[in-house]
Subunit: 446 residues, 2 copies
């Protein structure tokens, strides 16, 4: 029995309620689902994974500070008390806005919707150089974070065994591409871990000599922050031993080197924090897309000409007062909830409301006692210890709903007081070889 038929069968048993399908269990999708808790609708949440991911802390899994389990929670568990909501782990291949169905899984089953809230997010963009992916993994999923952790830890193990000085140096050189918040946090934490936490454990190498290079194509780090904070972040990074190189565009990545123009930097560890590309699901909607492939939505967050189809989160290009709304967790949360509200208003026959973004400010952490924060559109600026403690507090608070809050708190406290070793676990196989084309698409497709 296909889900379409089942939908009709359900209709026979009770007055049929509108079916809202939400694609994606990230901040935007989860927020939309929660807002529909008491609405007279049936909700189906579809996600490729079984878990909601607290993405702002993903770099701490990649750098072996936290366990993957600390920053995830099963989507179905978070929504367990919403009796009108069903969660299915499924791979969405395509949206057919004409027939109002989403097509899922290998069997290409169709799930019909009355309203669709598309929150399928983004993956990395290698700016047309997809052949770089196996050498320069990005950081979007738990699998990504485990891959980075594996390579980072294995590099030291290999270096400890190596008898070749040049090889050892390439192993102890880490290049992070892109100095947005992800790149900055990753570079700062990798440097801290290598320099402070692992030093005593090795006999033949000195992990304090690990070279972390942060490459940024633009003129400064953290380009969305005020210039003054960019400068402070760069100084903080440098004090942690990170070599920051702005206006440095990567021209080529190989298994054992990164090229900046003609310059070759020998390295066995390249991590990608540079570009985002929206989920390819956006392309099938017949809607206008921006340069990054995101859907340019109406003020009410729906797709032009498709009032029943909303796009939110990193997949949506939302502008406000002529400026783009940033691709951060609070924005995604607000958009998801707003789209759900507009669904409810529509059902009640009320007019929809145009989305209003409430900017709560921006925080990025660089390392122990080092962070920068910008609030009230840059009028309030914080740096150093104040910003760092605020960052800690905010993140502990937002882990609410995760039972892992206590676990994260203990692990951070331990790391703080001991400059401790974290979760230095190497498991599984590396993805260092180029996956077959089909698998690549599966990773790319949402």
């Amino acid at each position: 029995m296909s889900p379409r038929i089942e939908q009709h069968a359900a209709a026979e048993r009770r007055p049929r309620r509108p079916h809202v399908v939400i694609v994606g269990g990230g901040f935007a999708g989860l927020s939309a689902a929660r807002r529909l808790r008491r609405a007279p609708v049936d909700v189906t949440v579809l996600d490729r994974t079984n878990h909601h991911l607290f993405q702002p802390l993903l770099y701490q899994v990649a750098t072996a500070v936290l366990s993957p389990g600390d920053i995830v929670a099963p989507i179905r568990h978070l929504l367990r008390k919403q009796r009108n909501t069903t969660v299915l782990m499924a791979h969405v291949h395509e949206v057919d806005p004409e027939r109002r169905v989403v097509v899922v899984d290998e069997e290409r089953r169709e799930i019909a919707y009355d309203f669709l809230i598309l929150a399928a997010g983004a993956r990395h963009s290698y700016f047309g150089h997809d052949e770089w992916e196996p050498y320069a993994p990005g950081l979007k999923s738990i699998d990504d974070a485990e891959e980075i952790r594996r390579r980072f830890l294995l590099a030291f193990e290999e270096a400890e065994k190596s008898e070749d000085a040049a090889e050892r140096e390439a192993l102890l050189t880490i290049v992070v591409v892109g100095a947005g918040p992800t790149g900055v946090e990753l570079a700062g934490m990798l440097s801290t871990t290598a320099h402070d936490a692992m030093h005593a454990d090795f006999r033949r190498i000195d992990t304090r000599r690990t070279r972390v290079v942060l490459l940024e194509g633009g003129p400064r780090v953290l380009p969305t922050f005020p210039e003054e904070l960019s400068a402070r972040a760069q100084r903080d990074l440098e004090s942690l031993g990170v070599q920051v190189r702005t206006r440095s565009v990567v021209t080529r990545i190989e298994e054992d080197a990164v090229y900046v123009g003609e310059e070759r930097i020998p390295t066995r560890n390249v991590f990608w924090g540079a570009g985002n590309a929206a989920s390819p699901l956006a392309r099938g909607l017949g809607a206008p897309l921006d340069r990054a492939g995101r859907v340019q939505v109406e003020p009410d967050l729906s797709v032009p000409g498709r009032p029943e189809l909303f796009v939110v989160g990193d997949l949506a290009a939302v502008t406000q007062d002529g400026k783009p709304v940033p691709g951060v967790a609070p924005a995604a949360t607000q958009e998801g909830g707003w789209a759900a509200d507009n669904v409810v208003r529509t059902l009640r026959g009320e007019p929809r409301r145009p989305f209003v973004y409430r900017d709560k400010g921006d925080l990025a952490t660089i390392g122990r006692h080092r962070a920068v924060g910008s609030f009230s559109r840059g009028r309030i600026r914080l740096t150093g210890r104040t910003a760092w403690w605020l960052w800690l507090g905010v993140h502990i608070m937002y882990l609410a709903g995760f039972r892992n809050r206590a676990s994260v708190f203990i692990q951070w406290a331990y790391a703080y007081f001991t400059y401790g070793r974290g979760v230095r676990l190497i498991t599984g196989e590396t993805r260092r070889t180029l996956p077959p084309v089909e698998a690549t698409q599966a990773i790319r497709g949402w």
Copy 2:
């Protein structure tokens, strides 16, 4: 420069100290290394992974109670204060007792030893049916535990999506093969998790109807415990909803069924806890082996005719008063330390001491408030709550040296008071297809 040459180069700089190589960073190997902390020797510890694993809690990772990071610690971190000890992550292919070298990694580098303590452990044995492995993963490593967790959790996700009653039933049937401690603990915890923790999260299936079948070829569960405790453990398992079937020999395993004689049990989840096979490294020693491939050692734990070569832990067949010493963590810890002591005695010109096993008793947990314990050779027997609380205390205590003790404690407390959800994280790819021959050997070979 090969390690052999390097060894000689080191000899020129200072009076050459004997080189003790330890293969394996499990309980036996780690205990041997620690005992040599102040000995006038250079120690090299080789392990295929970077971490020591607290194996008695591995089933809790497989059943999504604990995170992998909670029960591991980097071997090099545990030994960081021992300046005479180097830890290398390396794959040991072979031991050449004639030339006194171990051969490691793809490059087949040779590491020379004066003393070798071989603690390479065991893998699963499928009793000549290696073709069952992809359908019935065992539980020895973190990767194994994550594979079992992935299959267990995916089965419920698939069942929630399935429209086919027979498929749903096969997905909600779990078969555990072998009723030793691993099989009993796994079956009990899988049943508890399915029945108590996940029930509210699903809409289309009732996880309380999950069928867990424990198959045992012999006449009773926990065959190494007194008969009375076996009977109690079986009753406890049954009260948790586990179907216990003794004298049930598995004759065939396919992707979607297990056969007991001619009977076919449709299931998509088979987990293997039945047999052990010693590491194939044992075969190259020219020493007498027992039926399971373990090395029959002398009373001082060395190999007959090779006083410089010790075998300890699950790789050794040790007998005491005509009875085999069991393959448990305390025995491995004692053997490793004992072998190291005999190395030190030999260097001092003192006679070696024959190994004396101190039996500290046996504990197995079945579920909440359900455990059995046997002490003083079965004269003291514990069951129910008493045994269960004792089990908890002992395991929290033995996690010492792991900073994860606090984290484990919190997660257990949380699970205890809330019948909570644990670490229900699905990541990575399943190993459900038969790996290529070479990879299989790599898994098998230590």
